[in-house]
Symmetry: C2
Subunit: 529 residues, 2 copies
């Protein structure tokens, strides 16, 4: 189901129901870009620590926009022995809610945009009909603003200005507006003595409207109802109606309800994420670290500085996660699957020893056909991801005695894969462990090498040719990690390099030590004014 | 005429012709955002100096993308006594040219995007079919890369690595590729002794292709032609053909031409701007400072730090500019026109004492109808801007004796308006003077006031209520300029404020002095490591 601003409100009950009844949920996001940094390979060094990787992703990826969110709910139907699925494809865009709402800026990366364009992505749907959203701070702020305005309207007094000369005389009208305001007062007086029900005052500035609210509420505490109305041309004017006490209350009640509704509209797509979060259901994604980071960043709160804090926030928002890329590159799947990209994985999981999962699209949802791929539409990718999970989960059931053909999302067999998010291109740390400390592999066969910027990978191969197989992980133009195949070669390399002029070698541990000292110094410098 | 990547190459001669024959050109740009800063009013302070304004616009506006460029050419037809116009609406997007081309990042501002969306802007056309472009540095770099690769191919030697161990043995093949390369050599030897004309080698990595080029050019300096071919699936492989000397030259010539063509394609839309620039024709725009800055930034070079340097670059790129917003807010138009926004200006310039200009759309161009406005399509806005210019120019002719009904773009009467770009919302400096020093208005009736962030404009009115009319120019939350109506009030205000605790007052001159000293210190600090 395609969900845009046009049909969001009416679709929300369907979305809530699908989440509520599901056994597990699959998600996927499409972004306006991936990496803001110099180049992706430098940003995903093969020997990053989890902390380094998190910091890089946070710094270089969070200013992009998550503008399409795919959700596919999977509910197992015992009687049919198959999953009933409900796929949703949400278009998301931070349309400013009103003139005082945050005017979000986001980065687009031309390669990503061009890639999506080549896949037939509909940018007009995002930008014209994307569903708005607020993060939690923005939501709280908006609620407070509304509350504050309501209080102002009730007692006819402006926000008290701390220490300001005007705080003692709330209805102070600057000289140049005095004429205007007395005319307005006259008009309202005329209204009260005439047989008319209401009067439209002429369009004016927000400041003038504020003065009018203050003055009129002050002068006419009873008998009238004041409201700002917008013309078709978006001009705003004030309408004053003659009302008795009952009518006045009724109108104020209606205004309250309208405000509440507007608030909910502004929170928009975040309500879907809140529902996913509150459901506590297993959320499955493919290579989902960036999806999780973006979702939290965009719909909950700015990401914390610290990896440990990020893990805690993640567990609050998504109490159970499963990454199919990590699962498929872990035993027993590792040996059976040679390409873990989503499209390839899906194909391989249809073949023996796996079995194509039986699914049926729920009534009222148009079904995806895996034969004519619609990859890179978030809703489709979420669907495929869910299929992959089902296939792998069921495969685990074949090891049981007696074998089971359906393994549910809460099975003990799945638990080892919970809350481990795939870390791309890190040689020796397969995943980020959201619920505990990360793996700390030994890196004493690794050298940190610096060299002139003209060097290529082949120059490094050449330099270490005596040591057999090496692995190069570029850091930047002039440095790289070189992993030797044997630890005892490290000292030999260090010795031979002692008199080299064009390049320098350091042991990994020494490099880490030096870097930590430097980072600490930098932080101290920053703290000083 | 709508121009996208699809029809750009075939439209270029039409564009060149239109520019070549025109009497003047009107332009307009649409951007992905306007201001990256905290809020627009803070960024356009009413008492900015031209330097400050330039610096702010450069800092907060240049990361947006100019993605639609309107050009309307106006050619006067003596016999018909009317202008023949040719409107063009170009969609522009920095599609990466190849895998090594710059991957441009640009910012989108949700309010701007939302505004364009509400005007029916077609984002898919921009992102899917936008014309690519390069600035001058990128063009030079690409030409050099192509040149360098050509030289490499010719002598079969890789880029010499400065100081690197491999520089002495250009065709060094790392161990793990030796097998692969000897198989390749074998295949080519087989080709030479067989009756086949060519052989396709298997797809491989770029590094392997590089090794193949180096080795094969080294081993077989004659008799073969080597070329990289791309399959439909975007896999690249090398094709080796048996050729005699003549055929080899012919193929190399063809390759050269293809490379030249690809280069021109990459320069893309910048060629239109180059043509406008070279033509030296009068370029008319409405409130065009941002258009000019973006055009130079995107298609020529990053904007210089210094305002004076910017003026010089601008004169090189656009030797004659005219801003209709500035013109319409200058004598003799100032008294006749009360709203200088483009849409309103166009309407007013159809009424007496002005006359609706006679124009005709050239054959083969679909004509715009000013009755059903298509504002905010760049091509239409450029067209309307040109109309406004013609109307105002002709009005100047009514002052001549005898009056003239047509005033040409090169008339002496227009000269006073050349090269003065409207400065938005600066109280006392109407324009940026591109060809000379800027106006330096006296500001000795101005006070710099700082106060608690709870203050509102009305608090400032209140504070200075004894001085009659004042003008407030907000700087940020806690400071503003206050212009008093009389200079001799400044000292009185200073005296009364002496013991104030909640706010502080400074004379404008003292403020400027203090700021300059601070800026200088900041710059010195930055220079120190
Ligand atoms: N005292 C008082 N001020 C109001 C009231 N409604 C609006 N205002 C103020 O008047 C200004 C104009 O309000 P409005 O016409 O609703 O347009 P807005 O600019 O979108 O808020 C705002 O800055 C509000 O602070 C009211 O009922 N009472
Ligand atoms: N020596 C030499 N190197 C080449 C030649 N053509 C390409 N290369 C190198 O081989 C690598 C692969 O080239 P190519 O197959 O054209 O794909 P590319 O990666 O898009 O440049 C590039 O990095 C080039 O530097 C050639 O004719 N001679």
């Amino acid at each position: 189901m395609e969900v845009t601003r046009r049909n969001f409100k009416e679709s929300l009950p369907t979305v809530y129901e699908a989440i509520g009844e599901a056994d597990f949920l699959a998600i996927d996001g499409e972004f306006s870009g991936i990496s803001d940094g110099p180049n992706v390979s430098a940003l995903t060094n093969g020997l990053d620590t989890p902390e380094e990787r998190y910091t890089k992703l946070k710094k270089h990826s969070m200013d992009f926009l998550l503008f399409q969110f795919g959700l596919c709910t999977f509910k197992y139907d015992q009687s049919k022995s198959k999953y009933i699925i409900k796929p949703f494809n949400f278009y998301v865009f931070p349309k400013p809610f009103n003139r005082s709402s945050p005017d979000i800026k986001f980065i687009c990366q031309s390669s990503s945009i061009d890639f999506l364009a080549s896949q037939g992505f509909d940018f007009n749907k995002v930008f014209c009909n994307g569903i708005p959203y607020l993060n939690q701070d923005e939501e709280v702020q908006l609620r407070e603003q509304t509350e504050e305005r309501r209080n102002q309207h009730a007692n006819g007094v402006g926000t008290p200005s701390f220490n300001s000369p005007s705080s003692k005389s709330p209805a102070h009208v600057p000289d140049e507006h005095k004429d205007f305001i007395s005319k307005v007062v006259k008009k309202v007086e005329d209204l009260l003595t005439s047989s008319d029900k209401c009067v439209d005052l002429e369009p004016c500035t927000g400041f003038q409207r504020k003065l009018m609210y203050q003055t009129l509420n002050w002068k006419f505490p009873k008998g009238i109802h004041i409201e700002t109305v917008e013309t078709e041309k978006k001009e705003r004017f004030i309408q004053v109606s003659k009302v008795d006490d009952e009518e006045r209350k009724r109108r104020e009640q209606k205004k309250l309800e309208r405000e509440q509704e507007e608030l909910n509209d502004a929170v928009g797509f975040s309500r879907v994420i809140h529902a996913i979060s509150k459901s506590g259901k297993l959320v499955v994604g493919h290579n989902m670290l960036l999806d999780v980071m973006h979702t939290i960043h965009q719909f909950y709160c700015p990401l914390p500085e610290d990896l440990q804090d990020f893990k805690e926030v993640t567990m609050c928002v998504f109490p159970r996660l499963l990454d199919t890329k990590l699962m498929s590159s872990t035993q027993p799947f590792k040996e059976l699957i040679n390409n873990t990209s989503l499209a390839e994985l899906e194909k391989q999981l249809k073949e023996t020893p796996f079995r194509c999962p039986q699914v049926e699209t729920a009534e009222g949802f148009s079904s995806y056909n895996t034969a004519q791929e619609q990859l890179h539409e978030a809703g489709y990718d979420a669907y495929i991801t869910g299929l992959c999970f089902v296939s792998m989960a069921n495969y685990l059931g074949t090891f049981l005695t007696p074998p089971k053909s359906h393994i549910c999302a809460r099975s003990k067999l799945i638990e080892p894969f919970y809350n481990k998010l795939f870390l791309m291109r890190i040689i020796d740390i397969p995943y980020l462990n959201i619920t505990g400390p990360d793996l700390q592999p030994k890196r004493d066969h690794v050298l940190y090498v610096t060299f002139p910027k003209e060097w290529k990978t082949s120059d490094l191969y050449q330099l270490f040719s005596a040591f057999g197989n090496i692995q190069v992980s570029w850091i930047d133009d002039t440095s790289a990690f070189v992993s030797l195949s044997q630890t005892d070669q490290v000292q030999i390399a260090m010795n031979t390099s002692r008199y080299a002029e064009s390049y320098k070698i350091q042991k990994y541990a020494d490099y880490v030590q030096a870097k930590q000292t430097k980072d600490q110094q930098d932080r101290q410098k920053q703290r000083q004014p």
